[in-house]
C-alpha cells in the first residue's frame, strides 16, 4: 500500500427514472439541472425531486464516451469527476461534423469541460472577464485580458446525443450559435442562445495528458489533421532558429572583417599590352619578374580588355623564376552587345579575374599567349567584304593575398538552412489550420 490515502469513493445519489423505472445515478450533488437515464436515454429535470421528464429520447445508436462517466481525474491540480457527456454536430455544405463534450464536476471548484474532435482535446472553463470584440483588417478579433484572438469560424452547433448530467437543461436537438476565436494554444468560444451569450476559454491539451490525468486503460486515438487552436509543433523554435542565425551570422561577419583586415591585398604587377592576331609568328611572351612576398597565399589576376563584339582567349602561366614551377590556366573573355526586338542586350564582359590559391612566396613572371580570330567586317560604302583585323588592348594586374568571400557566403547559406526550413514548416502548418476556418483560400 502506498502512503497516500486511497481516493475516496464518489458519493452517488440514486433515484428511479420516471420513464422506465431504471436506476438513475446523480453525481452533481445538487448542482446539475438535467440528467439522462442510462437505460432509456430520457432527459430528466434534475432540479425537481420527482425528476420530471424533459425529453423522451430514442436514439438509433448508443455512443460510448472515451472517458467513462464517473471516472475522476486531475485537471490543473484539482480532482474532477466526469458527470456528463454530449455529442454536438455542425453541418457544413451538407456534411455533418461531430465532436464530444464532457462535463467535469468538483463540488468546490464547480464545472469544467473537455472537448474532443478527431483526437484533438481542449480543456475548457467559463470566462470571468468580458472579452472585447473589434475588427482588425476587416476580420473580427476579440481581446481577453490583453490577449488577442482571431476569428476562426461561425457555426450552428446542434446537440445530437446526451448522457449523464448537465448544469443546464439539456435537450437533444437544441441549437446554439457559436463563434470560435483562436490564439494557439487557446480558443475563445462565444455561444449564443435565446438572447443570452456565454464565453468559454479552451486550452489545447495533448491526448497523452488526458490519458494520464484520467488513467485511461484504453489509449486515445491519435489526432487527425490540424485543429483550430493546436500549437505549431515547434512554436518557439522558429524564433529561436532565427535568433541563432542572427548570432552566428554576426560571428561570421566579424571573422570576415578580421579576415579582410589581415590580408595584404597588395598590387605587385600591372601592365597593358596590345595583341593583333594578324601579325604572324610566336604570340606568346613573358612578362618582367615580380615578387610575391609573405606566407603561402593566394594571387588574384585581373584581365581588363577593350573587346567589343569580339572574343579573345588567354593562355596564362604563373611561373616561379627560381624553380620553374608553373601554375597554368586559360581564360576566355568575350563581350557582345546589340539591340533586337526585345531591346538592348549584352552577353559576357570585357573583364575577367581569377584567384589562384596557395602560391608560395618567391620571384615570378607570367607567360601569356593571347589568341583571337581575325574578323571580317563590312566597311561602310565598300562593295566587298574586306578582311580587317581588330586587335585588343588588355591590361593584366596581379594582386597578392586578396581577401575572398566564398567561405563567408557558403557559411551564411549553411546557417540559413535551419531557420528557413522551420519558417516553411510553420507556414504550411498555419495553412492547414486556416484551411478549416471561414477564411480558407479555397
Amino acid at each position: 500500500m502506498s502512503s497516500q490515502p486511497a481516493t475516496p469513493k464518489p458519493s452517488i445519489r440514486s433515484v428511479s427514472c420516471p420513464n422506465c423505472g431504471g436506476t438513475v445515478e446523480l453525481r452533481g450533488l445538487g448542482r446539475s439541472l438535467s440528467v439522462v437515464c442510462i437505460q432509456c436515454l430520457s432527459v430528466l429535470d434534475a432540479s425537481t425531486p420527482s425528476l420530471e421528464i424533459l425529453q423522451r429520447f430514442q436514439v438509433r445508436e448508443r455512443i460510448r464516451p472515451r472517458i467513462p462517466l464517473g471516472v475522476r481525474g486531475k485537471m490543473r491540480g484539482d480532482l474532477y469527476e466526469v458527470i456528463g457527456f454530449q455529442v454536438r454536430t455542425m453541418t457544413v455544405e451538407g456534411i455533418d461534423y461531430s465532436w464530444s463534450e464532457y462535463v467535469l464536476f468538483n463540488p468546490y471548484k464547480g464545472f469544467r469541460y473537455l472537448s474532443e474532435y478527431n483526437g484533438h482535446w481542449n480543456d475548457i472553463v467559463v470566462v470571468h472577464s468580458q472579452p472585447q470584440q473589434s475588427l482588425e483588417a476587416g476580420r473580427p478579433v476579440v481581446t481577453l485580458l490583453g490577449e488577442k484572438f482571431r476569428h476562426f469560424q461561425h457555426y450552428r452547433a446542434r446537440t445530437t446525443y446526451v448522457m449523464g448530467e448537465f448544469p443546464w437543461k439539456v435537450q437533444v436537438g437544441e441549437e446554439v450559435l457559436c463563434d470560435d476565436y483562436v490564439h494557439p494554444p487557446r480558443i475563445l468560444t462565444w455561444e449564443q442562445q435565446e438572447g443570452e451569450a456565454n464565453w468559454s476559454l479552451g486550452e489545447y491539451t495533448p491526448k497523452t495528458v488526458i490519458e494520464q490525468n484520467f488513467q485511461l486503460k484504453e489509449k486515445l486515438p491519435e489526432p487527425i489533421g490540424v485543429f483550430a487552436n493546436q500549437p505549431a509543433p515547434d512554436q518557439g523554435m522558429l524564433g529561436m532558429a532565427w535568433r541563432q542565425f542572427a548570432t552566428w551570422a554576426l560571428v561570421l561577419v566579424c571573422v570576415q572583417i578580421l579576415f579582410v583586415f589581415f590580408h595584404a591585398n597588395k598590387k605587385v604587377f600591372s601592365r597593358t599590352y596590345y595583341f593583333n592576331p594578324n601579325v604572324g609568328g610566336e604570340h606568346s611572351f613573358v612578362t618582367d619578374i615580380f615578387e610575391l612576398k609573405g606566407r603561402t597565399s593566394n594571387v588574384k589576376l585581373d584581365l581588363r580588355t577593350d573587346l567589343n563584339n569580339n572574343w579573345a582567349y588567354f593562355q596564362i602561366a604563373l611561373i616561379n623564376a627560381d624553380n620553374g614551377q608553373a601554375f597554368a590556366f586559360g581564360r576566355q573573355v568575350s563581350y557582345y552587345h546589340g539591340r533586337d526586338s526585345d531591346g538592348a542586350w549584352t552577353e559576357g564582359s570585357p573583364q575577367d579575374s581569377v584567384v589562384l590559391s596557395s602560391i608560395p612566396a618567391g620571384k615570378y613572371y607570367l607567360r601569356i599567349e593571347p589568341e583571337m580570330e581575325p574578323q571580317a567586317e563590312r566597311l561602310p560604302g565598300a562593295r566587298t567584304t574586306v578582311a580587317r583585323v581588330q586587335g585588343v588592348n588588355y591590361q593584366i594586374t596581379v594582386t597578392r593575398d586578396v581577401p575572398t568571400w566564398g567561405f563567408f557566403w557558403m557559411g551564411v547559406l549553411l546557417l540559413l538552412i535551419p531557420p528557413v526550413y522551420r519558417t516553411l514548416r510553420a507556414g504550411s502548418f498555419e495553412m492547414k489550420r486556416w484551411a478549416e476556418s471561414d477564411y480558407s483560400s479555397s
Binding site: 475516496p8 469513493k9 464518489p10 458519493s11 450533488l29 445538487g30 448542482r31 439541472l33 432540479s47 480532482l79 468538483n106 463540488p107 468546490y108 471548484k109 464547480g110 464545472f111 467559463v126 470571468h128 472577464s129 468580458q130 472579452p131 472585447q132 481581446t143 481577453l144 485580458l145 448544469p167 443546464w168 437543461k169 438572447g195 443570452e196 451569450a197
Partner: protein, 212 residues
C-alpha cells in the same frame, strides 16, 4: 468583547450575534426570522424548508479577500427558473459587510455601493450586451435574471424577508470586475466587486462532501 446575545421571542433560545450591525437573523433552533429593535427581537416570519445544500460554503466559513479576513454570518437564497444561488453575507475583521455569491460554483465578492448609484436604466430596459457607466466604470450587461427570494439564514445587514419576484442584472467588464443590480428596491441596490477564484479566498470550515 462579549458578543451581543438576544432571546428568540418564539422559542426562547439564546440568539447570538456575530455581526454587531446585524438587522436581521434567524433563530438556529426554530428557524424564525427575527428582526432586531435595539435589544429586543421581533419574529416576522419563519424560514421555509431550504433547498438541498449545494454550496461548499456554510455559516462560520472563514476566508481572506484582498487582505481582509472575513467570516460568513448569513445568507440569502434566491431561486430562478434554472435553479438557485446563494448570496453569503460575510463580515470582515474591520466590521464591514461583504457578499460572497456562489452561482453554479462560480464565485464573486461584492460590496454594496453606497450611496446608491442613481440614473441606472430601468429593469425592463435591461438587455444582455447593453453598456453603461456605474460609478465611472463601463460595464456590460451579461445576464438578466428574474428571481425570487427563497430563504434566509443567519445575520443580515438589512431586513430581507417576504420579498416579491424581482429582476437581477449581472454586469461584467473586460478586467474581471463584476456587478449586480437588485431591482427589489427603488432606487435599485447595486453591488460592485469581482469574480474570484475559489482557491484565492483560502476558505476554512467548508462543508464537507462525502467522497470528496
Amino acid at each position: 468583547m462579549a458578543k451581543p446575545v438576544g432571546q428568540c421571542p418564539n422559542c426562547g433560545a439564546p440568539v447570538e450575534f456575530h455581526f454587531s450591525s446585524a438587522v436581521q437573523t434567524t433563530c438556529p433552533y426554530c428557524q424564525s426570522i427575527l428582526v432586531r429593535h435595539d435589544v429586543n427581537l421581533e419574529k416576522v416570519g419563519v424560514v421555509a424548508d431550504l433547498p438541498p445544500e449545494v454550496s461548499p460554503i456554510q455559516l462560520l466559513t472563514e476566508g481572506v479577500y484582498r487582505g481582509l479576513s472575513f467570516q460568513v454570518v448569513g445568507r440569502i437564497i434566491y431561486e430562478y427558473e434554472l435553479g438557485s444561488w446563494n448570496e453569503w453575507h460575510c463580515v470582515t475583521h474591520q466590521g464591514t459587510s461583504l457578499w460572497l455569491s456562489d452561482a453554479m460554483a462560480q464565485y464573486a465578492i461584492t460590496q454594496e455601493a453606497k450611496p446608491r448609484p442613481l440614473n441606472l436604466p430601468a429593469a425592463e430596459e435591461m438587455r444582455p450586451g447593453q453598456r453603461f457607466l456605474v460609478n465611472g466604470v463601463n460595464y456590460e450587461v451579461t445576464h438578466v435574471t428574474k428571481a425570487r427570494y427563497r430563504g434566509v439564514q443567519g445575520e443580515l445587514p438589512f431586513e430581507y424577508w417576504d420579498k416579491n419576484e424581482c429582476i437581477f442584472v449581472d454586469l461584467r467588464t473586460p478586467d474581471a470586475r463584476f456587478a449586480t443590480i437588485d431591482y427589489s428596491e427603488q432606487p435599485p441596490l447595486v453591488f460592485l466587486g469581482e469574480m474570484v477564484d475559489f482557491d484565492s479566498l483560502r476558505l476554512k470550515h467548508l462543508r464537507e462532501f462525502e467522497g470528496w
